[in-house]
Amino acid sequence: MIISIASGKGGTGKTTIAASLALSVPGARILDCDVEEPNCHIFIKPEIKEKTSIYIPVPEIDKNKCDYCGKCKQVCMYNAIAVLNKTTLVFTELCHGCGACSYFCPQKAIKEVNKEIGFIEIGKKDNLSFIHGKLNIGQAMSPPLIKAVKKYINSAKVNIIDAPPGTSCPVVESVKGSDFCILVTEPTPFGLNDLILAVEVLRKLDIPFGVVINRSDLGDKKTDVYCENENIPILMRIPFRQEIARAYSKGQPIVEAFPEYKKDFQDLFNTIKNGKFS
């Protein structure tokens, strides 16, 4: 089973929920797909056992074979190649590694070479398997690295995916294929605005989802009204407590700092597993 945690708005508590949920389901695995800023490790504190570099193929031009016909730049959707009078320039930071340029080059002048975009680390904390990706600084393209993290999904286990914020490509790549997605929100105008965007994405992807309202006693009731009108189950509410914020700032997951929450997270998991939303 794959449960992803997304939000739309950043800072609503995705990692808070992901870490505590993973720690409440025996034998689960947590996959941190927020590769631009992974932070699950701060809460899980896994022992890292393996580290692997991840590459994308980028074009390398054989200057002796290139006749500057311009086919490569024509087929590049990402404007990563410029062909001028007697020069072909490659801008690898714009390259998505799709391979179209080398495929279409009539002179067979383009070879694909590996460019490192980041790495993944695999570890364990007791019975919990841990995988995350870290994108290299300056890299703009995270989906290939997210794909590499998701290769470690084990369909026999419960996989918890911590997605990045927002609603763009990295989020789509992270939540794609999930059996269920938890949208973590806060009852503020920003939280609701971005929740609505995230709901649109999940409906397009046809992924079942529900909402967790964090800091639920702050803000207003508009999120509740929205969820009711849209028939979206509210799975859990976590009230604002300074003690939770303090524990978070020390890297302590809710279920460790406040063991009474463990049952809530187990209930959350069971609700999702059984598909019974009241």
């Binding site: 990402y78 404007n79 990563a80 020069t87 320039l89 801008f91």
Partner: protein
């Protein structure tokens, strides 16, 4: 000789556009006769690589000099590879800019004046 000025409008009285890759128009003019062509920039809404695309457009129009407000690193590299001289910090209207260029009031830029994504809407 042909010169290219990034412009906010389609004629010589238009203001110089401070962006290169995502300017509104490229005015490609003959320095001597001021005969010109206004090319609407097809790269304004491109996701990335606007500077690279625009540089190639300027090269295809056979301009030897670009007058603009700013260029980013990718555009600068591409224009250099095409052997096009880049002059940044240009403002006022297009005609004045060409006149100033003819009087030798500008110095070529030695490097990009802004970082990537400068021309994207804020």
């Amino acid at each position: 000789m042909k010169i290219c000025i990034t412009s906010q409008g389609d004629n010589l009285n238009s203001e110089v556009d401070p962006r290169f890759g995502r300017c509104q128009y490229f005015i490609v003019a003959d320095v001597e006769t001021l005969e010109f062509e206004a090319v609407k920039n097809p790269n304004i809404d491109t996701m990335g690589g606007a500077g690279i695309q625009s540089s190639q457009l300027v090269a295809e129009k056979q301009a030897k000099v670009v007058l603009t407000g700013n260029v980013g690193p990718n555009a600068f590299q591409t224009l250099q590879a095409a052997g096009i001289e880049v002059i940044t910090g240009v403002s006022g209207n297009v005609k004045e800019a060409v006149e100033k260029y003819k009087k030798g009031e500008f110095k070529p830029t030695q490097g990009p004046s802004v970082s990537s994504k400068f021309g994207l809407p804020k």
